[in-house]
Structure formats: C-alpha cells, structure tokens
Symmetry: C2
Subunit: 398 residues, 2 copies
C-alpha cells in the first residue's frame, strides 16, 4: 500500500510521547513523561452520581445524535466564564465544542492551512500541535522565545520578511513544554502585530486555570479588535481528559467554518459527556474542585523545583513554572537527552527528550518534566534517581 | 477573515440534512429526514447500571487518557465478531476505534487522498462521506449503480479510462441513501477489479446488522487478497450514536498510519464510552438487543412500504430495502424534490431531497425517506400527508 498514501503521511511520525507512554505502562516505571493529570483529582463519585441523574432524566437525548456545535448550556457556560473573567461579550455562537483541544488544533489546520502556508510558533512548542498542523503540509518558523514569550522584535522581523504567514500558534500560560508564561505586554504586542500583518492567532490554553501563584493574565481575546484570535480550551485538565471535551472560541463567522469542518470530521462530540459536564457545572462549584487540583499540583511543583535545586548538577538549568504541568530542563550543549533517557529507562525513569518540541529540529540537550501525575513519594524517588543519571553525564562533559 | 481560509473550505457546504434537522426539532414536525435510530431502542437502564459499575471498578482509568488505538477488549470483540461470522483471521492490530464511522471516513481521506485524486462512488452515495472526503480536495466519479450495486462493466471501464483513481467508496448493505444491497457476485467482482487496478476500497457498513429478511452477505474482507480493503463499522446503529464509537478494520500496516493520523486529530476516543460498551458486551448478549431493534425497524419498514404502495401516485417509484434505515423515492423527472419539501414543510413533514447525494449534482427528482426514527402512528400520519403533497405535484405534471 506504500504508494497509495497521501503525500502528507510522509511528514508524520508517531508521537515520541505516546511511544514512551507505552513503556511507562509498566508499573515499576516512574514517569515524568506524559502530560497526564493526577488521576486522584478526577471527580469519580460526582461523575457516577451525575451520570445516573442524566441517564434517568434525559436518557434517550443523552445517547442520541445531537448538534455539531455542542450542548447549548455548556457553550453558554464557557462564554459566561470568559465574559465574567475578562469583560468580553461572547455568546454560545462564539463556541464550538471539540474532542479535547487537540481536535481544535486539527480543525484549525483544516480551516486555514493550504500546503506551504507558514505557521509561526514558540521555540520550543507543543509536540502534538506540530503533528496536528503538519498534516496540512504547512511549514513552521520558530520565533525566538524567552521567559516572557515570543520576543516582539524577532516576531516583527519574521512577519515582515516571511511569505505566506497564515497563523501564529502560542500557549501563553504555563506553556507546554517549557512551563513559561507570557507577560501582559507581550500578549498585547502579539495581538497588535498579528492584526497589522493580517495573521490569525491560535491561543491554546489548556493549563491557564492551574496557576499556583501570582495573578492570572488575560486571554488574548481581551486585546482583539478584528476577530483574528481563536482561543482553545479544554475540560481535560480541570475535570477529566477521558471525556474528550474541549472547545474553540472565536468570531461567529469563523466558528461556522469550524462547524462545517467538524461535521465532516466526526459529526459531533460524545453527547452524554457534554451533558454530564453541564450537569456537574450546574450542581457543583468547579472552582472549588480546581482549587483542590491546584493545591496538589503546587505541592508537586514545589517538590520538583526543590529537588532540582538540591540535586541537579550546577550546569543543568530549568524553568520554575508558576502553574501548569511541566518544567523544562536544559543540559550542557554536548549532552543528548535521548542518551540520558536510555540510561534513565534502565533505572525505570522516563521523561520526554526536548528535541521533538522543535518543529525544525533543535536542542537535543533539553527535556520535559511532568510533575502533575505522580504522588510526591514517587516524584522524590524518581528525581533522586534521575539526578544521579544526570550527574554521570554532566561529570563526563567536564 | 474571508481571505484566510484554506482553499478546501470553498468546496464545503453545510450538510443539508443537519440544516433540515434543525427545523425538525420543532415537536410538531414529522421527520423522515435524519438517519436517527429509534431512541426507545437505546439500552438506557443497562448503560446507567454499567456506567456505575465501570466508574466504581475502574473509575480513574475510565476517565484518564488512554491509547489512540482504543480499549483492547473492545478491539478484540470487533475482530472476533468478524472472524466468527466470516472465517477471517483478524486481531486487535487490525482495528482502530474512531469517533463513529464518520471519523473513519475523515481519516481515510487524510491517509490516502492528495488534491486531485479520484474517488469512485455509488450513484447516489452517502452525503457525509462526500463532505468528509471532499475536504481533501479529491474529485468524485459516480459509477452507474443498479439494485445490485455498482455495474461491473461500468466500473471496469471507469477504472481503465480514469487517471488517479485512488479509492472506491461503497456501502454494500442497505445503502445510504437508497437502501439497496450489493449482490454476492458484485461484491467479489468489486474486490477483484480493485485489486487488478491497485485501488483502495472503503467498505462502509453502519447498517449491516439490521437485516429484516434474507441472508446476510459477506464483508468485502472475505474476498480480499492484497490488504486493500478498509472496513468501517459503528456502534451507533446497534447501541447508541451519542457515544461516538465506531471503528476501521484493515491491514495492520495501514491501520498504523490511521493511528498516527488520529493521534494528531484528537488523540483518542472517549475513554468511558469505550469501557462502557466493552462491559455491556461482556454482561449482555448484544444479539438479543440487535434482534429487538431489527423487529421494530422491520415493522416500520413494512408499514412505510405498504403506505407507499397504497398512497403514492403511480408515477412515483421507490426502493424496498431488506434492512437498514432508509428508502429512496424517485419522482417524475420534471418534479424537483426541493419544491416538494417546501410544500411538505408547510404541512410539518420533512425529508431530505436527493440531489445532494450525487457528488457532481444530479437527480433533483429524488428524495430519501428514513423509517427508523418514528413510531408507526407518526409514520402513518406523515406518509398520508406526504402522499397528498406528492399527488398535487404529480397531477400537475400530467
């Protein structure tokens, strides 16, 4: 069949993360690899109770086909939350429910990207966004990025000198993979530059609710004047990922195109999951629930950073994320994180090497650490072992 | 934003069905339009009980991320069922779970179709398959089709004289929209011709389990010698559509490409839905359940055909499906079914005009009748009214 595949297939490769995740299914493996939420944070009992209620009260509707756009009470809730928080004026017509924000990335490619179009992204950026968009045969140009986001002068120069820039893809809060957060100034500047150059912005925000300290910074929508910002959100990190319910928010005319494309892609999201989440939001205060998740992750982040401070060799640097699920580690330039992973796996420790977060290839001396998934004892045990592996590599390079 | 959209967007239009479905949400409308299963056939109580058990026994796993391929017990069940029925030798590695078979259509486009590739299809064919595949900028060539499937001499001639044929898309059982079923001979001949011309076959089979009479005819997989058949199935019509769980079955190397593409598209299907279906299949006999659905639909089909026999004008023809959800009506050539729909909607009757089931435009004097969704009283009331509308049109043409 080799000669039958579409050309785009040759651009795709299996996600390194999902391959590593298969290894980490062995219970003895301590994994910093996935982006998995803490399973003990899932509201299992509430979901059990609510599933019963929804199936009793609206059973056939909850199992039947529904609209592509999604369940209206859920779309209204998403709009209201954004409006209450940031003073925006959105309604359900601004929102399409998607199978997690991953599908919103795929649909964004389908709605906007022709072969050869250019996507600007942070450097590094989210691995699965690269896979989703690359399926539309785009090219990526990485914008130099520091601890406060893309560097505006660099972004401006790239916008001025690059043909066919269609889209800028960013994760302003607790970025995957670095854990970095964009400053307020950079957010506004990004929107102004995108508007000047008539470019779409995809704001991916799966982790924004999980801030451990400091003040929440506004969505890019707050600065939008031309309807060129599409904002992605998800219930995966604040409720549960297995339901696959996320959303895309944007200009209603643009959302109509997304609806059209989702119709062809899979008709609609799981009906019962939409109604269970809506009922949960009605019966419980999700902010109390999010506060609990935040407390757990903050402790894990604190422990992770402290252990890195105490145990990692001096020539290893890393981020200190103010929220989210990830930290980012940079090794001396001569060390390849894939070699480190090989040694670490021998000691049953897993993480994701950083190279594949650079769409055009890049810093192989980096890796990503997830701190949300495991209890503190495991984090401690794992980082102690990992630090010993790192010391071996770092000593060799002296 | 108009100038930002990808070229493919100009090929897409809203599904006429889903637009008509919005009208049919008014309770007074008697709708033959959608392809909705009978809601009273959903195993609501069983799903309620099983959701409780799954959440109690495997709660966190049922809400967490899982593999892209899908839940192994469910993949095994699908392979076993095919093997038991047709003597094939499939395993879970032949199967990827998808969000209904609609997603399997979308992924098929993504895996195989480059811009300008040709898809051969029945004439008419499933509307949403046209939308799914058209998003990959393919061209459709309709193969002349009669009551037994595509006409082999016509298919052969088209295969010999058409450049860039990549794929043949067919619905051999109780086709959507016509309700027709391919004969055994035509099935085998299709596979032989596809193999000779080195073309992929997509066998879409959402209704095959719902046969009211006669003998079940084999999957095209039975005739496959080169791994060029991909078979789509779904739980939507035998369990419930709101769960969005379908599958694609094919050669393991091809399935690996589908997995890669699904990873980028939405990571995975809803975890809980996969486990609930698997547990249902474990605890209950789904064949008993399917037998019940079949009985209900058979009565509705019988009534529909009898009323069409009794009430429709003599110059109106229609199919007598042996299973599935749909019948197909052909009016005298001068009558446009969209005009009929307009009059019918005034009397609160809905159906889908046939024109949009022809990818290159076609017989506007046709329409599709769904008989699965409504109880018999409503079918009767609706067809009596529809017949009176048809008589008005048909008399005018004399």
């Amino acid at each position: 069949m080799e000669n039958h595949y579409a050309k785009r297939i040759s651009n795709l490769k299996a996600s390194e993360i999902r391959e590593i995740l298969k290894i980490t299914e062995r219970p003895e493996v301590i994994s910093f690899a996935g982006g998995l939420p803490a399973p003990e944070s899932f509201p299992v009992d509430e979901i059990k109770e609510i599933s019963r209620i929804v199936l009793e009260e609206e059973g056939t509707a909850a199992l039947q086909y529904t609209t592509t756009e999604g369940f209206d009470p859920l779309r209204n809730w998403i709009a209201d939350r954004m409006n209450t928080r940031w003073g925006t004026q959105f309604s359900k017509d601004n929102i399409l429910l998607t199978n997690g924000s991953q599908q919103a990335l795929d649909l964004s490619g389908k709605v906007f990207l022709d072969e050869g179009d250019v996507v600007l992204c942070e450097s590094p950026t989210y691995l699965a966004a690269i896979s989703a968009l690359r399926a539309y045969s785009c090219r990526f140009v990485e914008v130099p990025t520091d601890d406060n986001g893309m560097i505006p002068t660099a972004l401006e120069r790239i916008l001025e000198t690059t043909d066919r820039v269609k889209m800028i893809y960013v994760i302003p809060d607790f970025q995957n993979p670095t854990g970095r957060t964009w400053s307020l100034e950079r957010r506004e500047k990004l929107v102004r530059l995108a508007e000047e150059h008539n470019v779409i912005v995809i704001e991916d925000n799966p982790y924004g609710e999980l801030r451990f300290e400091g003040e929440m910074l506004p969505s890019l929508q707050v600065f939008d004047q031309t309807g060129s910002i599409l904002s992605l959100g998800t219930f995966s990190k604040i409720f549960c990922p297995g339901f696959r319910i996320g959303w895309i928010l944007g200009d209603p005319d643009v959302i109509k195109k997304y609806v059209l494309v989702k119709q062809g892609a899979d008709l609609q999201c799981n009906t019962l999951a939409q109604r269970v989440i809506a009922k949960y939001l009605d019966m419980y205060n999700i902010d109390d629930h999010i506060a609990k998740i935040r407390d757990v992750y903050k402790k894990r982040r604190d422990l992770t950073v402290k252990l890195m401070d105490d145990l990692f060799p001096d020539n290893v640097t890393y981020t200190r994320p103010e929220g989210g699920l990830f930290a980012w580690v940079e090794l001396p330039a001569a060390i390849n994180a894939r070699d480190v992973l090989e040694k670490a796996l021998e000691k049953n420790i897993a993480f994701v090497p950083g190279g594949s977060f650079f769409p055009n290839g890049g810093k192989e001396n980096t890796f990503r650490i997830n701190f949300s998934n495991m209890p503190e004892e495991r984090i401690k045990e794992g980082l102690v072992t990992l630090a010993s592996v790192l010391r071996e590599f770092c000593l060799k390079t002296h």
